[in-house]
């Protein structure tokens, strides 16, 4: 099984989490740790890059649901970017596009943050 990884890089005042591998019930706690780390650092503007994520299970989706309200409550957001078609399909079926902002590229996600802060 492809090793799961969630690494943070900082781009301006936006935190980018880059995912790879399989995000399921066993690896979801690691993504939770990553989000908790951002919370302790009081970083609420998050762009998640799904480019290298091969699979996401319902437990993996649950992680985003657990944190999005906190991020939004603190003036931030979680923006989802660069999903592979199979991963996007899962988000789409569940109706995530109605609830989350999903962008084809990471750059667009970051830009969206910058636009809203300029306003």
């Amino acid at each position: 099984m492809a090793e799961f990884n969630a690494g943070i890089t900082e781009t301006g005042n936006v935190q980018v989490i880059e995912l790879s591998g399989f995000l399921d019930a066993h690896t979801a706690p690691r993504l939770e740790n990553t989000f908790n780390e951002l919370l302790t650092r009081q970083q609420y503007r998050v762009v998640v890059n799904f480019r290298n994520l091969k699979y996401i299970s319902s437990a993996g989706l649950g992680v985003f649901m657990a944190f999005i309200e906190t991020m939004r409550g603190n003036g931030g957001d979680i923006k989802l970017t660069e999903m592979q078609p199979n991963v996007y399909n899962i988000f789409d079926l569940l109706g995530f596009p109605l609830l989350y902002e999903i962008f084809p590229t990471q750059q667009e996600g970051i830009q969206k943050f910058n636009q809203s802060s300029e306003k």
Binding site: A25, K54, G95
Partner: protein, 694 residues
């Protein structure tokens, strides 16, 4: 009753003791000529036998006692003191009565003779006790076989004592025999005085005590010897030359042995501390290696290890950090505050990168108003606790003095750390297997709940052929389906997939089932029912869980199907040889509790044409994995459906499951599989009507 050999020996000893005293009494108090050589010799032989019997009895008692060297030495001192008191009293009494000189004892009264007799016997017993204790001491912790030397010494002591008769003035022609024997005895005593290896095994405190006691013994033995050699005790000599000489010899032996002992112990004192520490170190290590094999809670083990590390490594403070996240606070601390330990951790681990692989010995300089500086830890040793080349933690020991570990302390520290790694690993493995067992029991409960929730029977509908299949995964996946009779006579059914696995999913499943069962009696509208379900779930579903579901109602006439989809996979419809995905809008239950849920939820109504087949399923089918972790996929499912489009619902379901089993042969089933197929029968209704018409 049969007497055992030991009991017989015991009784013999008692008899010898009794006979000896009796014989001595006879010789002493019968009007025999006390000046005769043979009478004196016989008296002495009797006395020595008596002494031997007494010594044997003392030995018997001693066997039951704990023979600690310091206790034996104390008995020796006590015996010396008893002899000293006796000799003192004897001298006093004699000088008081004015009896002295050769043959005077014979002339003194019966009372005096009785007194002398008692004094002589007590002196004999004291000397006997002294000698027994001394011999015990001699053989203590002896590795070499030294019996020969000791027996030779004993033999010569006895011979010299017996030959003391030649010391008496009337027999001094043969005094040379006695002198020769005496010299031999002294040589043997000297040789045997070197046997004091047992003092090495005493700790410092005991050694100090031993020094004091040996000084006491030397002092009393010297006084006794001087007094015996003086003129005061001629009467005693007359009573029994053997006792007299025996007393002298053991005094000499005492001076020689304890003199040598005193100096040796004195020279051992500086090294005593090192020896003490080594002994403690070894016993702590042994204690700890026993602990390894006991099933201990990791926390408890860490505490014990921190405690033992102090003794094993001779450190002032010790602490441990364990776990995946090695930056966490110390788990067990001894003689150091968590805060200070934390500070030292960050200095040491921080300076050498995050996870040093090897042992570190260092003299850190804590500067400024640091707490670590306040406590003045000047030397710190750190060793990673590795198992299977993975670092599970670190053991720290620290000293307040600037005294680095020497090579032996290093090896003790390293060995101890390695033991600790194994012990920790063991206790973690145990904890894990307990946790695994707990999870398995939990899964059993979850499976049981799920099994009870799935309906046992399918509803019977005239024009619809129905098949439902459910295959649970090992970890309960949260799939669920059910049928309801709606208020307007329609048949309702639901297929749902709860996110997450195990017992939490099973509980949500049970709740959903209750909600659907209740609401299906209150409303006929699938959309209404789904929106109300979402509202109710708001109270119980936590933020990271959600449920996907499809709710359908089939009209009473079985010609129309209404459906809503809340985030669930599409429904497949097979009509005229092609498969179509039906995907009404709707977000998953529990993803949003506001207006959005309702506004996104689209209810569609479809005509049920003859031979229409509807396939409902969960992601256990499309996401079934093969050995390469590839998904079974939607298109494969569609292909099977088309391939077997003419088969009855149940056969088609079996074919699908068959293909999935083939596909995922090498992999395990990760998720529950639920598959429901309904097929609108052909012309059945017309036939029924036709029959009805007859």
């Amino acid at each position: 009753m049969q007497l055992s050999v030991q009991e017989i020996l015991k009784s013999i000893r008692a008899q010898i003791l009794f006979a000896g005293i009796l014989g001595l009494l006879i010789i002493q108090f019968l009007p025999l000529d006390r000046g005769t050589f043979f009478v004196i010799l016989l008296s002495d032989v009797l006395i020595l036998i008596l002494g031997y019997a007494f010594a044997l009895n003392v030995l018997m008692v001693l066997k039951k006692l704990n023979k600690k060297p310091t206790e034996l030495v104390q008995y020796i001192l006590a015996s010396s003191v008893v002899m000293f008191v006796l000799l003192f009293l004897e001298g006093r009494i004699l000088s008081g009565t004015g009896i002295s000189g050769i043959g005077k004892l014979q002339e003194s009264g019966l009372l005096m003779r009785a007194l002398h007799f008692t004094a002589g016997v007590i002196l004999l017993f004291a000397a006997g006790t002294w000698f027994v204790m001394q011999s015990e001491l001699f053989f203590l912790k002896q590795r070499k076989n030294l019996k020969t030397y000791y027996q030779a010494m004993l033999f010569f002591i006895l011979l010299t004592a017996l030959s003391a008769v030649f010391n008496l003035q009337q027999f001094d022609d043969y005094q040379f025999i006695h002198i020769a024997l005496f010299v031999n005895t002294i040589i043997l005593i000297t040789i045997n005085s070197f046997r004091i290896s047992w003092i090495a095994f005493l700790d410092k405190k005991e050694k100090k005590r031993l020094l004091l006691i040996s000084v006491g013994i030397i002092v009393f033995s010297t006084i006794n010897l001087v007094r015996l050699a003086g003129d005061d005790h001629i009467v005693l000599e007359q009573f029994s030359p053997a006792i007299y000489l025996f007393g002298m010899l053991i005094s000499i032996y005492g001076i020689a042995y304890f003199g040598f002992l005193f100096f040796t112990t004195l020279f051992h004192l500086p090294t005593a501390e090192v020896f003490d520490r080594k002994t403690k170190e070894i016993s702590s290590m042994q204690y700890f290696s026993r602990l390894i094999n006991q099933a201990l809670d990791p926390g408890e083990l860490s505490e014990t290890a921190a405690e033992l590390a102090l003794t094993v490594c001779g450190a002032d403070a010790s602490w441990l950090i364990t776990g995946d996240n090695l930056t966490i606070a110390p788990v067990a601390t001894r003689n150091i505050s968590s805060k200070t330990a934390d500070r030292i951790n960050s200095v040491i681990l921080g300076r050498n990168g995050n996870q040093p692989q090897g042992t570190i010995y260092m003299q850190p300089s804590f500067t400024g108003s640091d707490e670590a500086a306040d406590e003045r830890f000047q030397f710190v040793a750190v060793r990673p606790l590795k198992s299977h080349s993975r670092i599970n933690g670190y053991l720290f020991t620290a000293r307040k003095v600037n005294l680095p570990y020497d090579s032996e302390e290093m090896s003790a520290f390293e060995t101890f750390s390695d033991y600790l790694s194994i012990a920790l690993e063991n206790s973690h493995l145990l904890a894990e297997s307990i946790e695994k067992e707990r999870l398995e029991r939990e899964l059993d409960v979850a499976r049981e709940i799920q099994r009870k929730l799935i309906p046992a029977e399918l509803p019977v509908m005239r024009n619809i052929e129905l098949s439902a299949l459910f295959i649970p995964a090992f970890e309960v996946g949260g799939d669920y389906y059910d049928f309801f009779e709606l208020g307007n006579g329609d048949t309702g059914f639901v297929i749902a997939d709860v996110s997450g696995k195990g017992i939490s999913a099973a509980f949500i499943m049970a709740e959903i089932r209750g909600i659907f069962a209740t609401l299906s009696r209150m409303t006929d509208s699938p959309r209404e029912l789904m929106i109300r379900t979402n509202q109710i779930l708001k109270r119980s579903l936590d933020r990271r869980h959600f449920v996907t579901a499809v709710f359908c109602s089939i009209s009473d006439r079985q010609d129309e199907i209404r459906m809503v989809r809340a985030g669930h996979l599409p429904i497949l419809r097979l009509r005229e040889g092609s498969v179509e995905e039906i995907l009404p809008g709707g977000i998953g239950l529990g993803l949003h509790y506001g207006e959005l849920f309702g506004s996104s939820l689209e209810e569609i109504s479809l005509e049920l044409k003859e031979n229409d087949v509807f396939i409902f399923f969960t992601d256990g089918i499309t996401e079934a994995k093969n050995g390469n972790m590839e998904d079974f996929g939607m298109s494969a499912l569609k292909d099977i459906i088309i391939k077997h489009q003419t088969l009855p619902a149940e056969d088609m379901a079996n074919k699908i499951i068959q293909e999935i089993t083939l596909f995922s042969e090498s992999g395990t089933q990760h998720d529950d599989i639920t598959l429901m197929i309904l097929r609108r029968r052909k012309n059945l209704q017309t036939e029924t009507i036709h029959h009805g018409g007859i």
